[in-house]
Amino acid sequence: MIYSCEISHLDDLFKEISSFEKLYLPVDENESLSSRYEVYSEGKKMSDRLNTVRSPKDFFFPQTENLMAFKTEGKKIDIIDVRQENEDFAVFGVRACDARAFKVLDNVFLKDVPDSYYADRRAHGTIISLACSRPVETCFCHTFDIDPTEPDGDVKSWKTEEKLYLEPVTEKGNKFIEKLLSVSDILKEEGTETPADVAKQKEQTKKIIKKLPLYSLSKEKFGAGKTEEYFNSPEWDKLSESCLGCGTCTFVCPTCQCYDIKDFKTNNGVIRYRCWDSCMYSDFTMMAAGQPRHHQKERFRQRFMHKLVYYPTDYDGLFSCVGCGRCLQKCPIHMNIAKVMKTLTPVSDGGDK
């Protein structure tokens, strides 16, 4: 079932949602062309920008989070579990690229040995995704088979000139809509057919996608099992020659999930926390005895091989890039995965190991 609300009542809808759970909304920042997620409060307007600078991965995998605490006295140590169950929350306006990124993160954090910190947030967060109607030149989600007019998420939404349409697709999404209906005066049933204005918007968006400069960018030559073809590609030297070794690409990336665990001494104990880390950093793999990646070229290669080859090898061919274009916009030297994909050529004989 698709539900709808008049655009003029959008603010009321947000009010209704926040009456039963915390609602996060992308809002414009003062800074040019930036938006970020904030907790909705009356008067906040949803940004029409495509992507927030920081991706919504923060909601489930925050940049810094405390894992546990310790109290030490003499030779004794006490471990304090600082985990608390999260409250339910909803994230509105997640674009198709970012919505797919959760699937990439879920594979890492929920499979095999689940990460309880991530799992708890994920269990309590409802994703209300928003279809794109104005892709920009840095967009290439289509390269990874993502349809920006049909985003993943618990509830999908489309915003046209007249209305906001909501369609729950998961169990969590259905529960969310039930809760919303129980308090809402403005949400109406729209039927099961795609509304005409949504259909029109989808068609227009698809036309634009065909005009995108990266429309022809293909992932086909990469994927599971291609390590030997690309690890020793001759182009890595040139591609990485100016890489600053900063963490911008990693930290704005919705799928990068590497982390560090560190101890922080407080006045009365120790907090063990985890924080985002970057394979681009020189100390990422540093050991007391040395390290396997001596140069920036090797760190640079790791990041792209992981997205294009290693991750697909480990997770049934799924790529860990979603084509959101953040790194294309933010890299200080404008080097990025699109350029890497276009430039790399396979080493046909598997290279000289």
Partner: protein
Amino acid sequence: MQKLTRGELVRKAEELLDNGEVKHVLGWRAGEFDYDLTPSVFDTKDDIEANFRFDDFCGPNFSKYLVKKTRELEGKILVFLKPCDTYSFNELLTEHRFDREKVYVVGIECSGMADIFKIKEIAGEGISKIEPDGEYLSVASLYDDEPVKIKASDVLEERCINCKSKKHVVYDELLGEEGEEQDSGRFEEVEKLEKMTSEERFGFWKKELSRCIRCNACRDVCPACTCEKCVFDNPDSGTQNKSPATTFEEQNFHIIRAYHVAGRCTDCGECSRVCPQRIPLHLLNRKFIKDIDSFYGDYQAGQEAGQRNPLIDYTQNDIDPSEIFGGAK
């Protein structure tokens, strides 16, 4: 809009490669779009013909790259430096960070570089083409049939609006016309901050710095940050990078960095250019520059290679701390 053309730079590069003066050319490599150029080394004329770019999007300052490139590459490197870049070059020479003999500097006239974010603010997002057109940039969009004409001087980077100098302080050869030091308004923003109450100022920086994602791009691009091992990368320092364990640390990182480059920062503005969160980091450095000017007399880092900056040079006329902080002499 640059007065100097790509063709002039290309001809110069090819001439110097041909006559054997240099073996490599450090320049801007064409990207996917019209504005995403990458600093890169060119070794052949074919590569230069095909991929070398010079236009309003050549913001990156190459001086710091010379530290690494002069070590990695055999043979002399031609580097194109805009006036502001030459100050960083001199400062790095002062700090003995690379061998001057391995570099051939071609100073290039600069009319100011464009800020792509300002262009997008005016023309909208979804840019398909940007072409120079006299004093204007013609910006075509995925969504409009007609390109938008934007005056190049309306979308300059902040550091170019407040350009401190159009004069090259070092070069082996010059392309285009030499300019003069500028009477810039670069301290006006600092003065605005100085006029705030300390609470307001603290609030301003707290808000700005709270957006920091600790990517370290500001540090990694900074020509004054060339330590072999940064204190923020050293696990034994207790201030290792990556993330703030407390909000204080977030602020600490930038303030420590500003202190560390004080007296050596040439105000090249690369920190603010690369910040993914567009935090006006250059204002921290500019405050130091302004204070140094007022305490020790006008001083410009990088003006001359080999000069001693006032913070590491004692004279009997140096200001007494009591004149700033009060108290007994």
